[in-house]
């Protein structure tokens, strides 16, 4: 029984999420190797706003709409339990979000140059890695569209 459960949990369907986890870990390691000694002294504290629609804005809005349309793809009806891995993943994600908000609140309140807010690092990333910043915003917009603009779609037979 346990072997059947284990096979259901780690079957071929787990390949895509596992590949995403490996890619994400690889990106984290690469980012750390490249930027762990980077200085933030040259980072801007503000950008002059661009009043005209940009290609980046169009891509983010397009990703939001695409996320909503993804709900129309046929998908399997969930028959059983969500599973421990799903629950653990959700908990880990929300715990990381809580840590990030805790740091942001502390940084905002401390008003110290040694603990800059997360928004400051977003400015740094925007300056140094414009394309990666756009990729992250597109992915976030895709997820937001899939989640906020959910359409039930059709179930596979």
């Amino acid at each position: 029984m346990d072997r059947v459960r284990s096979a259901a949990r780690f079957g071929p369907h787990a390949a895509v999420p596992l590949a995403l986890v490996v890619v994400a870990l690889g990106l984290c390691v690469a980012a750390w190797l490249r930027f762990h000694e980077a200085s933030t002294s040259a980072c801007p504290t503000t950008f002059s706003p661009d009043v005209w629609p940009t290609g980046g804005l169009a891509a983010v809005i397009g990703a939001f709409l695409l996320g909503g349309l993804l709900g129309n793809l046929p998908h399997k009806r969930l028959a059983g339990a969500y599973g421990l891995l799903t629950e653990l993943g959700l908990f880990a994600f929300v715990a990381i979000v809580a840590l990030a908000w805790g740091y942001e609140t502390h940084a905002l309140a401390s008003e110290s140059a040694s603990t800059p807010p997360l928004t400051f690092f977003v400015m740094c990333a925007r300056l140094d890695e414009n394309d990666w910043t756009l990729v992250v915003f597109i992915l976030a917009s895709l997820l937001a569209g899939r989640w906020l603009w959910h359409r039930p779609g059709a179930y596979l037979p």
Partner: protein
């Protein structure tokens, strides 16, 4: 099997208690995040702390689900359409849920536009 256990409902109330108590403690300055909590940044600090407590209270409920699922692998937490709650809130929550379900596209697009406007005009790192 969908689980509407008394313990889970109790855990949801514990999460609500954490959220309310944390925000009250911040507003009353019983919790000190730093000097910016008392000056012109106070609104932003309290707003950020409010989202922190929201994330913590959500994590409390999710931690219960992790432990309960580890103990009973066949257990399934209720989805958004199956949630039950205290009687005074249930009707209002159901009304909001139905209206929101009918207008998800408007809500999603409104959130995106509002976020873009607020980010453009108000965001001051």
């Amino acid at each position: 099997m969908i689980t509407h256990s008394r313990r889970r409902i109790g855990t949801i109330w514990l999460g609500i208690l954490v959220f309310v108590a944390g925000n009250v403690a911040d507003a009353a300055d019983w919790i000190r995040w730093g000097p910016g909590q008392s000056d012109g940044n106070r609104l932003w600090v309290l707003a950020s702390a409010g989202l922190f407590w929201l994330a913590v209270s959500t994590a409390v409920v999710l931690l219960y689900d992790v432990v309960a699922t580890a103990l009973d692998p066949d257990r399934r937490p209720p989805g958004s359409t199956e949630l039950i709650g205290p009687r005074p809130l249930r009707q209002a929550a159901e009304w909001i849920r139905r209206r929101a379900a009918d207008h998800t596209a408007v809500i999603g697009a409104g959130g995106l536009i509002a976020g873009a406007i607020i980010g453009h005009l108000v965001w001051k790192p």
